[in-house]
Every structure is written in C-alpha cells, then in structure tokens.
C-alpha cells in the first residue's frame, strides 16, 4: 500500500499532469550485455527489468536487479556479483532516469518504428554518468515497445578488471535493452 502511494506520488511529480493512458509500464523488460574479447565472449541477460515510459512527456525510467543477471556459467555469475566487479551486495540495483528527448517525433496512434534519442543518468556500481544513446520506439496495434543498443566503458563506473583476467573481459561492454510495455491501468 505504502509502495503504491509512493509510486503514484513519484509519477505525479515526474508528469506535469497525470493522464493514466500516457503511462506505459513493464516489470518484465529485458536488459542483456555482451563483452567480447578474442579469448572469451561473455553474455548475460536479465528479464525482470522494471520500466515506466510517459508517452506524453517522454520521461523514461529503468531499474534492474544486478543479482538477476543470468550467465551461461555459474562461475561467471559468481565473479560478476563479487566485490571486485559489480559488488551486488553493496549495489543491488542499477537504474536509468532520463527522457526520450524527441518523443514528439513518435506518433503513438500510428504503427511504425520510430528512431529516438534517450538522455539521462545511468547509475551502475554506485556511480552515475550522463549518457545519450540512440533507441527506437515501436508502435504496433496499440502496443508500445522500446529498444536500444549502446556501449559503456567499465572504467567509467569504477569497475576495474584485474590484470590476470583482462584478456577475458572487454573494456567496453555492449548493452541491449528491450521492453514491451503495457498501459497503466489503475485499479479502483
């Protein structure tokens, strides 16, 4: 209950006027990352991404749990969560808060794939950085989805790769985001 009140208050704050039909939510969005070196390819994905998109103002948020990233190998996953890397005990979440700066280009009433630009703050491993990345918003039969692919440098987020494994982990990793939204339907 408290959570809902907080959430609605947050939505009210971010949106100048709250029209329920402007809000698109998902709790099962996907974020995956890919690190490639000649020695080893590392891939992991998380399918429990929470995201809110305001189709009117363009405000966009993502939150994801670090421990929810699943790897092919359990050992990779253990390493990823360790203190030396993502330190998920201390920093359990990563989040993005920003806006689709050219949301007006998207016609939500007409089917199509619209290229957009997303700007905002990405927080990972306790470090926040401003990012500006390309993405697409797809409208299909009234359903809205969003996708983006971009790279981040591990060093920008204070993630230092020990020299002994530096041949296995790339300095930059590719992040892929895919979200299929559902309209927000308040229950009375």
């Amino acid at each position: 209950m408290k959570k809902t009140v907080f959430f609605i208050a947050l939505l009210l704050l971010t949106a100048y006027s709250l029209h329920a039909q402007d809000l698109q939510l998902t709790r099962n969005g996907q974020i995956s990352f890919f690190s490639s070196t000649p020695v080893e390819d590392i891939k992991a994905s998380n399918n429990e991404v929470s995201s809110v998109l305001n189709t009117k103002t363009g405000s966009l948020q993502f939150v994801v749990l670090i421990k929810g990233f699943q790897f092919r190998k359990a050992a990779m996953q253990d390493h990823f969560n360790r203190k030396e890397y993502l330190d998920s005990d201390k920093f359990p979440k990563s989040e993005f808060k920003g806006t689709v700066s050219d949301i007006s280009k998207v016609n939500f009433k007409k089917d199509g794939t619209y290229p957009v630009t997303v700007e905002g703050n990405l927080t990972l491993h306790g470090v926040s950085n401003k990012i500006k990345v390309p993405g697409t918003i797809t409208v299909k039969a009234g359903k809205i989805s969003a996708a983006s692919k971009f790279t981040i440098k591990l060093a920008d987020y204070n993630i230092t790769v020990p020299a002994i494994v530096s041949s296995k982990i790339a300095e930059s990793v590719e992040i892929t985001v895919n979200c299929n939204y559902e309209p927000y339907q308040p229950k009375s």
Partner: protein, 141 residues
C-alpha cells in the same frame, strides 16, 4: 641427480594437471539446482510486506535464497524469451511478487499456487527467477 630432476618434472606435471582439472571443475560447475534445493516457505503478502517495510533487512533473509511463495495469481504473461511470468498478489493494489518460470506450467488467473524460485531482490515487486510450480501436497507452511 638426473633421476631427481626427472621426478621433479613428473611432480610438476602432475600438479599442473591437477590444477587444470580443479580450474576446469570450478569454472564449469553447474547452476544451483532450484528444483531440489530446500526452500524458505512464505506467502506472497508476507514476503512483499517484509520488503516494503525494510528492504535491507528483508534482503538479509531472502536475497540469493530459494523461496517457496504461495499466493493468488493476479496476472500471467510471457517475457521476451518466451518464458511464463506470473504475478502473485499482495495486499498492495498494484504490486506483489513477480515470478519468472523456468518451465511452463498451466497457471490461471485467480488460482492460489506455490512457486519455488531464487529471490533476486526488490524493485516495485519482489522478484523471483528460475521458478518452478510445486504441488500443494509438498508444501508445508
């Protein structure tokens, strides 16, 4: 002297082989078997409330643990990997326990079920991944 050298080389070789074997074993160890792991049993409302009351405290008990959650299904969907996702109701209007199933199971809105999976923390909902539906007979609350 020559013999000693040969023995040393042989020993070194065995140690290297052993090391490689250990490394290979550790590096390729399988993911935790959720199906067979023992679980903490709790109902969806209690789990959600524990998290909304004090997330840090709840994490100490549940994060990275196998949890068997019993609750009423309020939504069934499919994620982008084709896996079934189930939302279990709490006494909150919108949020509850978000469970991603490892293997498909016939689940309908409104029924009360128990899902066993790995707790990864709290966003707007408590999140459980790699879940399996378990028979009521096996659950002791």
């Amino acid at each position: 002297m020559k013999q000693l050298k040969a023995i040393l080389i042989a020993l070194l070789f065995i140690a290297l082989l052993g090391g490689a074997y250990a490394w290979f074993f550790v590096w390729n160890k399988p993911q935790q078997n959720i199906k067979q792991a023992s679980a903490i049993s709790i109902n969806a409302t209690d789990l959600f409330n524990a998290y909304s009351l004090n997330e840090a405290e709840a994490n100490k008990t549940y994060i990275d643990k196998v949890v068997a959650v019993t609750g009423e299904v309020s939504n069934v969907g499919t994620n982008s990997e084709g896996k079934t996702v189930v939302l279990l109701k709490s006494d909150d209007l919108m949020f509850g326990v978000n469970c991603t199933l490892e293997e498909a199971a016939p689940i309908k809105n409104g029924e009360t079920i128990t899902l066993k999976g790995l707790c990864t923390g709290f966003l707007t909902d408590v999140v459980l991944i790699r879940c399996y539906k378990i028979d009521d007979a096996k659950v002791q609350l």
